[in-house]
């Protein structure tokens, strides 16, 4: 069973998607560790270390995602999480922006996959299974 960390980063309190993501991931057979809303990068990293997780699904809905996710890859590596998968999704930037640009920016920041607003979480589960079997 794969362990994945989910949570909502930063000062973000959007809880609904987070609860549903937990529900769906569990249905898919993942061992889900949900650190909930208002979680810092540190919270994510600590949870991943503690539970030996293989992936983090970072949600950001409220628009500050770009700032909250800065150096997240570097901070993971520093903490010894060398090969952990990093996904991010939600409404990760302020306003309606061209998604290709946004994706680029987050990929540069070291995220493995970036999802546009309202993405199907089932699709992400499939991606996760694929990426984890590599």
């Amino acid at each position: 069973m794969h362990t994945v960390i989910i949570g909502v980063i930063g000062a973000d309190v959007h809880a609904v998607g987070n609860k549903i993501i937990e529900h769906v991931l569990k249905d898919y057979g993942f061992n889900v560790v949900n650190i909930g809303v208002l979680s810092s990068q540190e919270d994510f990293i600590n949870a991943a270390i503690e539970t030996d997780a293989e992936a983090m699904l970072v949600s950001s809905l409220y628009g500050h995602g770009e700032m909250d996710c800065k150096y997240m890859r570097e901070n993971c590596e520093e903490a010894g999480l060398d090969n952990i998968l990093l996904y991010v999704g939600g409404n990760i930037v302020v306003g309606k922006q061209n998604f290709k640009d946004v994706e680029q920016r987050f990929k540069k920041m070291g995220f493995d996959r970036v999802y546009p607003p309202g993405s199907d979480i089932e699709k992400a589960c499939e991606d996760l299974l694929k990426d984890l079997s590599k």
């Binding site: 973000d12 309190v13 809880a15 909930g36 628009g63 302020v94 306003g95 309606k96 607003p117």
Partner: protein
């Protein structure tokens, strides 16, 4: 131990001293009460939120207000003027950014700098505390409509001081409604105190002859919240505010999507608020209602979003709301551009104008839904008062702790999170999992029956799956989240 009791002036003043030290902008002569009273008294009538609400109520019109806020002052002023002049907004907001909401003013300061560099707002709102009285007054002076702070701040004491001293005449929030949906582990005991302070400040100004509007945040999580739950919170927050001397209160409600339920909710929200305020001895509070256009997830499509917005406007107007908070075609994507926001306003406004004064005549179904809501609100209010041994502040703390009050999908650990809602066949929001919610067995039986009927119709069990389908439903063009098999049979 916190009680629903008016804060003595000296207590208020001594806390105030501490509060103003929370960030350098608190140290501003404009925050001396003699000064702020002057500033507020100089606000012209047409820019006073409370006064304009009174006039609107008299004329029986539904006025509109968007959400909006960006990091920098000039940009923010430009944005508000676009919304006022091109959108026809009757009331202007300043949506506060999320760092400020968490009192993370240092983060906000960083983001202001980054925004200046990046030439686009890196914040999801206007950082009023960082801009201080000076910045906030600059905003007030450069727009021609009443201004309100809209946020979600558990501890908004410094924020409230600053905005009122800058001549902003309304403040959204409350000790419950800006905690349960907006925080994770802040005690209700604390937020109730914080908001007693904010209300006491408004009460202080009231004593100086200045009317300021206060608005509990009605929709809570905006996600399948049954009207009886959000009404109970709104009414209790109104009572807590009134105790501190607030005289002009706007209670709110987020659209459910079923027209009958929505109109019943709007009408009972007003009548019950007035009833309970009077019952508990607050005789001179002026109550209005605010209807929030659909607060759940929006569809991606812009035209569909315009459809929802406009339909909501019809409901608000027919239901007699005095104010409506509008959304935009960008809702599902991100904070709207000024243009998209203004479009949402214009679509909304024409509907409110066309339907002005038409009303919604009472029917059996409307009466039944109103009776239902009234009964449930009564049950929840008395259950709360009961555990509070007659005190609403204590009641709130204990009711949330034990789940007697319980808000679906709230992030707060102070919330039991046991209640699970779903829609009945007609799309009314009902409950199937009650946890410890303070409803009578009779009330519960009604909900269960309604949802069983739907389940039977859809040939499946009532379950969390149904709730999830309902959460997605509107964004996928349905009100009642149907199972896949039934979707295909739709023409």
């Amino acid at each position: 131990m916190i009680k629903n009791k008016k804060m003595p002036l000296d207590t208020f003043l001594s806390i105030r001293e501490e509060i103003l030290k929370g960030w350098p902008t608190g140290d501003d002569p404009a925050l001396a009460l003699e000064e702020s009273v002057k500033t507020l008294k100089a606000v012209p009538k047409h820019k006073n939120f409370a006064t304009k609400l009174r006039r609107a109520k008299e004329e029986g019109v539904t006025l509109i207000q968007p959400r909006a806020g960006v990091a920098l002052i000039d940009e923010h002023i430009k944005l508000l003027n676009t919304l006022h002049k091109k959108g026809g907004a009757d009331f202007l907001p300043s949506t506060i950014d999320s760092y400020t909401r968490q009192n993370r003013y240092a983060n906000a300061e960083d983001a202001i700098k980054q925004s200046k560099k990046a030439k686009r707002s890196m914040l999801n709102g206007f950082p009023a505390v960082n801009h201080g009285v000076k910045g906030c007054k600059e905003v007030a002076d450069n727009v021609d409509a009443p201004l309100q702070a809209r946020h979600g701040t558990p501890d908004a004491r410094l924020l409230s001081e600053i905005i009122h001293a800058a001549g902003w005449t309304s403040n959204e929030g409350g000790g419950i409604s800006y905690n349960i949906p907006y925080a994770k582990n802040i005690a209700l005991e604390d937020t109730l105190k914080y908001w007693q302070y904010c209300d006491r400040l408004v009460g202080y100004y009231a004593d100086q002859g200045i009317e300021i509007n206060r608005e509990p945040f009605g929709p809570l999580t905006g996600t399948l919240v049954p009207p009886s739950i959000s009404h109970t919170v709104a009414i209790i927050e109104a009572i807590l505010a009134a105790e501190q001397g607030v005289k002009n209160i706007t209670v709110g409600y987020g659209q459910s999507g079923n027209v009958n339920q929505d109109i019943a909710a709007l009408q009972t929200l007003e009548s019950l608020s007035n009833y309970y305020l009077k019952l508990f001895g607050y005789d001179d509070v002026f109550v209005t209602t605010v209807f929030h256009q659909w607060m759940g997830g929006f569809p991606e499509d812009e035209a569909e979003s315009m459809g929802i917005i406009s339909m909501a406007s019809a409901v608000a107007t027919l239901g007699g709301a005095t104010k409506m908070i509008t959304k935009s075609s960008h809702e599902s994507q991100g904070i709207p551009t000024a243009e998209a926001n203004a479009e949402g306003l214009r679509a909304s406004k024409i509907v409110t104008r066309l339907l002005k004064g038409q009303g919604f005549s009472s029917s059996k179904a409307l009466k039944a839904e109103k009776e239902l809501i009234k009964r449930e609100v009564n049950e929840l209010i008395y259950a709360t008062l009961n555990v509070g041994k007659g005190d609403f502040a204590q009641g709130i703390i204990k009711a949330f702790k034990s789940g007697i009050l319980d808000v679906p999908f709230a992030p707060s650990e102070m919330n039991a999170g046991k209640v699970l809602p779903a829609r009945d066949k007609e799309g009314n929001i009902r409950i199937f999992e009650f946890g410890n919610l303070g409803l009578s067995d009779e009330s519960k039986a009604f909900h269960k029956k309604a949802l069983k009927e739907r389940a039977k119709h859809e040939n499946r069990d009532v379950s969390f799956k149904m709730t999830v389908d309902d959460i997605y439903a509107v964004s996928r063009g349905q009100l009642v989240g149907l199972p896949k098999a039934m979707k295909e049979s739709l023409l």
